[in-house]
Assembly symmetry: C2
Homo-oligomer: 280 residues x 2
Amino acid sequence: MATASSPGAPPGSAGRLITVDDPDDPRLSDYTGLTDVELRRRREPAEGLFIAEGEKVIRRARHAGYEMRSMLLSAKWVDVMRDVIDEVPAPVYAVSPELAERVTGYHVHRGALASMQRKPLPEPGELLTTARRVVIMESVNDHTNIGAIFRSAAALGMDAVLLSPDCADPLYRRSVKVSMGAVFAVPYARLDTWPRGLESVRDAGFQLLALTPDEKAVPIDEATQGGSERVALMLGAEGEGLSTRALMAADEWVRIPMAHGVDSLNVGAAAAVGFYAVTR
Amino acid sequence: MATASSPGAPPGSAGRLITVDDPDDPRLSDYTGLTDVELRRRREPAEGLFIAEGEKVIRRARHAGYEMRSMLLSAKWVDVMRDVIDEVPAPVYAVSPELAERVTGYHVHRGALASMQRKPLPEPGELLTTARRVVIMESVNDHTNIGAIFRSAAALGMDAVLLSPDCADPLYRRSVKVSMGAVFAVPYARLDTWPRGLESVRDAGFQLLALTPDEKAVPIDEATQGGSERVALMLGAEGEGLSTRALMAADEWVRIPMAHGVDSLNVGAAAAVGFYAVTR
């Protein structure tokens, strides 16, 4: 039965609404200390969970096939989420807004939190067999930026995302929220080695384009006019940009033509323009 | 003399470094309560000032011709800003980080704040005589979004920005910071009436393109392939988009083609792609 595989769900609680009024109730442990980024960064991947926040994002996570471990709702969200409550075998904890705040550490504006079970990440090779337009991020550590880049990648039709080993977690709550759930929509994988892992991308037939403000780079619309069958667009972090070794590993450097006197776009804007250019 | 027109500067203090250790010193009043958005929103335009934060932004404001009223520095920034201190007639207040925090209400990471004198805004007609690519924002109230849009507008070569009467202030501290000073680089003006003011833009020879996710809109690259001499790209706020009456006032609706199932880009990403498309 599904219930047996839902951690924290006592037998027979499947799909049932459980009112909890003790903030130390161990069944709420998936939701403790949500504002402690360091704690959650360690705990969530280790325990195989992530947190989806708000009705829309929770529904998108379910739609993308993630299994629900439990849900934490304040009373007025029970009706809104009634269909989900009826469908999932996971326990649903109804709490007061005050208790939600004591457990999570913040005022849960969106009134609904779900703890979702992670799925094993695919291997990069799996994604590369079918993708034509790929994003590769190097050392993007900011959860907001990761989320924004996924949102644009999904909207503009990029097929997959590959992450360098030191990129932040796309399933961290803030990334999920900023992406509006796009982290569920665009498949992603992590490269094991960097920059050596890029060779496997090239071997899969992709042209590696490094996005850089460097003047020596080719304007991105010129670089993509050949209509290369398979393109991987490499992006670095805000401020830093791509490392020298990543730049050296690329096939070509591309830039977004800038008006005189401006350093650069922020990474979210640059990514959006880059995706637009390589998907034309 | 310039000193006489620098509010808060006592005679003879021009260019001098003044150590202040009383948080209630009236000479620091330009900097009080910087975290109180509502207070600052009222005060700054009324008193004709705005706050530039951090070395880079302060230098860019000066470079763009804004007159400095005063500067507030913590001790270790005095050397970094020495050339500015020597050049400007405005008083420079040296304070401890603790005092800076008591006055402003937050920990001033960047260690340097300047109070700058606003300049009168140009009339829209002035900007429209020379511009070829114009951004028009409707009801963009979020200071971060305004700043991000200006940064992209500057980087991608838009010539001017026009604001609907209810857009937020581009010179609010957060907008200035997020824009990296691009609010000084791209000239902007406010339309007096909305959407009626759009007629003056059309009369100046601009084609009014309304950016919308609406399926009935033309893909933006098709709309701009004609290479219209003068284009004004209209943007609405995050979530809301353009109002119906703004859409009705446009010459053409344009959209950024989206991959299936995604609502939309965030306004910053959409703006960046839009600017890229109309400046090709």
